[in-house]
């Protein structure tokens, strides 16, 4: 009997290690593949030049990097504050009335909408109205996607602040809005984490951009104009038959992954060894 | 479920009941010695035993207070225990005092002892009532004691008057006076015990 227990224990350990390996191998192979194929095109020109013509040499992804950064900035400007404050509402105000759970539910629904559908929304509202793909449409689409992610995680972060802190503040005769700010200050790390993760999440989006920001071979020329982005270019160049475009797509993928990993590293740095609310 | 404190309280109660019967026996023995002309030599032992018991009651009361911080009826019981135990101890002490008077004065067979013996009967009844009132926590019985105290006081005063008017035999009147004095003290303690019983049950403290 004892032997059986020991064997089954060992088997279990082996099983989990194998599962871990199966999870890690594809991840590492993707990273390795992208790094090895992408690194060859990364040079100064890659960051400063416009995309090359098919079968031409040189050029870069400068406008796509610029576009992605712009789209992330604009969508953050839209999605973060709205998400943050609806998170505050859910956690700090929605508890005592029935709107809180309604907002919460809507957030969950919004989070579950496929990104392409969000793209269609922005397409209908903005692209059709202005008769042009635009940075604005892309920002709105991505920003809309951020709202539920940020609001739900913010609400969780605020709820993780012990109620005793809230009571302490209110019992001192501190007004509700000021108390909410105090609670946010206590959860600032968790909120920063949530915001960064939401940014990382939308940085990798392609589908809504096809319908909204469109693509451009030129530098940014206004919020009402289309703009190139890394994800769109990965898709566009990656599916092309031209070798130099395919190489550019590998480079773009490497940069994109570097950005997302960088954000995740920043999150790790923020949350290291600390309680979520401290 | 029995409380831990109850063990201490029950022990206190048992000790007080022991003191109650012992002190009644002691007083009865001393009065017997006076009225029937004995020596009452057993009274000394009883008085000493009562004193020892009184110390034990005090110690145990203190211990219960320190250990369990009694409140309400528990607290009142312990507070009253001091007074009641002291009362029983004094009964014994005065019984011994009476016996000592007899030792000093010797044979009193020729004296008219009826007045003192009558008063002693009242006093003994008061002792019995105080003991019963405590044993049964009987407030009504306890409240009857003070009226009898007046009878004893009056008897004591009358005797003093008689002695001052210098009637009769000096030995007889002096011994009678002393014994009456002790009976009067016993009666006071019976009254105090009655008041303590009242306090245990009702929480009403004696006012005057």
């Amino acid at each position: 009997m004892k032997l059986r227990r020991v064997v089954s224990d060992k088997l279990w350990t082996v099983f989990t290690v194998v599962a871990l390996g199966l999870a890690i191998v594809p991840l590492l192979s993707i990273l390795f593949d992208i790094a090895s194929k992408g690194i060859s095109v990364i040079n100064l020109d890659f960051f400063t030049q416009l995309p090359p013509l098919a079968n031409a040499s040189g050029g870069g992804m400068g406008n796509a990097i610029q576009g992605t950064l712009l789209l992330v900035a604009l969508s953050s400007a839209i999605g973060l504050p709205i998400g943050l404050f609806s998170g505050v509402y859910i956690s700090e105000y929605g508890v005592t009335n029935r709107y809180g759970s309604a907002v919460r539910f809507l957030g969950d629904v919004l989070a579950g909408i496929p990104s392409i559908v969000t793209g269609v929304l922005a397409y209908t509202l903005i692209v059709l109205t202005f008769q042009s793909f635009s940075v604005l449409a892309g920002g709105v689409a991505l920003g809309t996607m951020m709202i539920p992610i940020v609001s739900n995680t913010t609400a969780e972060a605020l709820k993780s602040v012990p109620n005793s802190i809230r009571e302490a503040s209110i019992a001192l005769g501190i007004r509700k809005w000021r108390t909410s700010l105090l609670i946010m200050a206590n959860a600032k790390k968790a909120i920063a984490t949530a915001s960064l993760l939401a940014i990382a999440r939308i940085t990798g989006e392609t589908a809504p951009l096809i319908l909204t920001a469109g693509i451009s071979t030129l530098w940014f020329s206004g919020f009402n104009q289309p703009v190139g982005s890394l994800t769109y270019y990965i898709y566009y160049f990656g599916t092309s038959p031209y070798q130099n475009w395919q190489n550019m797509a590998w480079g773009a993928a490497l940069i994109l992954i570097a950005i997302v990993l960088g954000i995740n590293a920043a999150v790790r740095l923020i949350t290291r060894g600390k309680k979520a609310y401290a | 479920m029995a409380r831990l404190m109850d063990m201490g309280l029950n022990q206190l109660n048992t000790m007080l009941l022991d003191m109650s019967s012992l002190s009644q026996t002691a007083v009865a023995a001393s009065i017997d010695a006076y009225s029937k002309g004995g020596r009452g030599s057993e009274v000394r032992k009883m008085a000493e035993r009562l004193q020892a018991l009184h110390r034990q009651v005090s110690d145990l009361s203190m211990e219960v207070i320190a250990r369990y911080q009694p409140v309400a009826s528990d607290l009142r019981f312990i507070k009253a225990c001091f007074e009641i135990s002291y009362g029983f101890f004094r009964y014994g002490r005065y019984a011994l005092d009476i016996v000592e008077v007899l030792e000093i004065f010797g044979d009193l067979a020729k004296c008219d002892r009826s007045a003192v013996v009558d008063t002693a009967k009242v006093t003994q009844e008061m002792i019995r009532m105080s003991a019963d009132a405590f044993a049964r926590r009987d407030v009504n019985l306890a409240r009857k004691i003070p009226a009898m105290d007046d009878t004893v006081d009056e008897s004591y005063r009358n005797n003093l008057m008689k002695v001052m008017n210098a009637k009769g035999n000096l030995k007889c009147s002096l011994s009678g006076t002393l014994i009456l004095r002790y009976l009067e003290r016993i009666a006071d303690h019976a009254t105090y015990i009655g008041e303590s019983v009242d306090y245990i049950v009702t929480g009403i403290e004696p006012t005057a």
Partner: protein, 273 residues
């Protein structure tokens, strides 16, 4: 009886216990409180006397915490809660339309069961949090408030060199005194304490008890405690609650020596249930 026991005469007693001369600081009148459909307080009437320590005792769930939380309108923060009846503070109903809950809480401060200093603030900032978060800007007076209040709770000598340290770095007893200092810094008139010592060791408890006793010179103190001996030690008046009702309310010595209600007697002697 020949000797009369000397005792206080009637006049003397009245001088020592000026019952009628006592000022009422807060008056609870016909107070009912609910959590959703569950009634937590049933027709509670209570006079909280000025500059006295009033203790509320009772078994768990008797409504003592609910009652104290109704005295500064903290009860209403619980979703679905409800209050009827009135609580008068200096004769004015704190549930009336002319008083704001925020103002009530500034006049009736509160200290909680578990010490809850703001973890993201220094010791000094914790003390002045109530002032700063209410918009008081005067930086120079803050130093003065910090020192005076920390001295008041006997914490100044222990922390004067670490005022910038986090309030959460203090020991439990120190944290609780810091919380009392924080409550006192906004100069309330009444201080409510909800089992302030239940998370503390005996030494820290003794310090808080001494502090409470000294506070009544300036403040009116209401304390909820599950520790009857604590109520007996520090309270001038004690209220006993059971199943949401105020069963008995009297001077502490009377309540603990000679309670009038059978229920009180059974609870305080430990013969309950």
């Amino acid at each position: 009886m020949l000797e009369s026991v000397t005792s206080l005469d009637v006049e003397e007693r009245q001088r020592l216990e000026p019952h009628d001369a006592l000022e009422t600081k807060m008056e609870v009148v016909g107070l009912d409180a609910w959590y959703s459909t569950k009634q937590a307080l049933v027709d509670v009437n209570l006079n909280v006397r000025s500059n006295k320590v009033t203790a509320i005792i009772g078994p768990s769930g008797c409504g003592k915490s609910t009652l104290i939380r109704c005295l500064n309108r903290m009860h209403e923060l619980v979703p679905g809660s409800r209050v009827t009846g009135s609580v008068l503070l200096d004769g004015k109903n704190i549930y009336g339309s002319d008083l704001d809950a925020v103002d009530v809480r500034r006049r009736v401060g509160m200290v909680f069961q578990k010490p809850n200093p703001f973890p993201n603030m220094s010791i000094a900032d914790n003390v002045t949090a109530g002032l700063k978060l209410a918009g008081v800007k005067d930086e120079s007076s803050m130093k003065e408030v910090e020192r005076r209040t920390l001295e008041r709770v006997g914490l100044w000598d222990e922390v004067k060199d670490d005022l910038k340290r986090s309030g959460a770095s203090l020991s439990g007893g120190q944290q609780q005194r810091l919380c009392i200092a924080r409550a006192l810094a906004i100069e309330p008139e009444v201080l409510l304490m909800d089992e302030p010592c239940s998370a503390l060791d005996p030494t820290a408890t003794a310090k808080i008890e001494q502090l409470i006793t000294s506070l009544k010179q300036t403040y009116t103190v209401v304390i909820v405690t599950h520790n009857m001996q604590q109520a007996a030690r520090i309270a001038d008046y004690t209220a006993f609650m059971y199943l949401g009702k105020l069963i008995e309310y009297d001077e502490t010595t009377t309540l603990f020596e000679n309670p009038r209600q059978e229920l009180t007697e059974r609870y305080i002697t430990g013969k309950f249930g």
